[in-house]
Symmetry: C2
């Protein structure tokens, strides 16, 4: 048997605030021997893992501070020693992380993997705006899409817009001007749009406006990563939208 006694838990840390962790996640953290911390996750999470050695393995945006292959080796090495390794990922581990590759490698090495779900920041962004991601008057669903693609190409914005779903765009702030320009080729200028930075944390900042004004206003307000961009009719239900691009609580409007 090549099976080892240790295991790896891929743990979703949620959008930021520690009380948005699940009860199951809190339990796994309490039992962790090794904590691998992504830098999109709230570092205070370590306070919930009093017995764990904490290893930071952040990899923000394009800057690859800890190569993926090294993280994989770290997880396996400690699990093979019989330890409980908890790999913490921001949001839900199963959206836009490298969880798929990590699970495959662990499976290959006959190491047990647990997955603990969490709240993805797109949901927290909607909660911050006081809206639902879907609204039966406006759409039949929501698409979570990353603007940061492996080969540096752009997603097919026309195809995404054609679905009529709410768009929740992750990792889009560095190209907000070009992606909104692409969407404006398909969607009306008046389409409701929002940016929520640091969704689900104490630092949350929100902007609600229309698609044609989104890039300019977000830049003027100094909004940057990490943030979720939300676009679609359902966003028009936000209290701030009635006043059209008016300041919503959370920051002073710079325009």
């Amino acid at each position: 048997m090549s099976t080892v006694q240790g295991k790896v838990t891929l743990l979703s840390a949620g959008p930021g605030d520690l009380d948005l962790l699940t009860l199951r996640a809190a339990k796994a953290l309490a039992a962790a021997d090794i904590l691998l911390l992504d830098d999109l996750a709230n570092a205070d999470i370590a306070t919930l893992a009093p017995n764990a050695r904490v290893i930071r393995v952040g990899k923000r945006g394009g800057c690859k501070s800890t190569p993926q292959a090294f993280i994989q080796r770290l997880m396996q090495r400690h699990a093979k020693k019989g330890l409980h390794v908890v790999r913490v990922k921001g949001g839900d581990a199963l959206l836009f992380g490298r969880a798929g590759e990590e699970i495959a490698a662990l499976r290959e090495a006959a190491i047990a993997v647990d997955i603990i779900n969490g709240v993805s920041s797109g949901f927290a962004a909607a909660a911050g705006l006081g809206i639902s991601l879907t609204h039966r008057d406006h759409c039949q669903g929501v698409t979570f899409v990353t603007a940061h693609m492996q080969d540096h190409s752009q997603p097919d914005w026309a195809a995404l817009a054609a679905t009529g779903t709410t768009l929740a765009i992750y990792m889009g702030m560095s190209r907000i001007a070009s992606l909104t320009a692409s969407l404006l080729e398909t969607l009306p200028a008046s389409t409701p749009a929002a940016v929520v930075q640091h969704a689900g944390s104490q630092q949350e900042r929100r902007l609600v406006t229309t698609l044609d004004r989104l890039a300019e206003e977000a830049t003027a307000a100094g909004l940057g990563s990490p943030a979720v961009i939300l676009i679609g009719g359902a966003i028009g239900e936000a209290a701030g939208f009635a006043a059209h691009a008016e300041t919503v609580e959370g920051f002073a409007h710079a325009a």
Copy 2:
């Protein structure tokens, strides 16, 4: 001032298991005076709200056991008495519920609303399959879509398929044959596909196969609502897919 002292919390109960509730949700339940329970939520959640009077307001599928307008009135009546009303919804309250309408009505009535996020069943379904909803080798995102539309029409399956995102289809089991047939007009027959019934609960059952065989195999296996249907390249990473439509743990294959 028309503002009242009571409040309503829209609380996401997650997919089923109580330990998939967030810490914040557990706190709100402990402080609840009135608990309005959806029947997609785990009824055991009431054990976490020892001081609350429990009112069941289920509304499964097409059968409207408690009309939406009545639920709205219930929430408002109790909140106006100064009580803390917790409205429990399965999954995340901000996806495919009527949260948008409920928030609007409460705002109109000057009643404070808190929203507490949770784990949507699509994420739990992916965890059950041991896969990520997105995988950079396969797709740039995931679309959550309901097959159950307000006007009984079908979503635009061709447009959804054209995005190349993973599709996570909610409330689709009653029309699984027609929706897979529609998707097959755009997607290859060999597209990986899965059904996860009761995702994230002890009763979870899973099937992994290809799009062309999905409806027949799901029916043969007796899989029904509530379930999430997952379709796309990323689903091919599931351990069960290698063996192609082979039994995956959770139930005996009926075909």
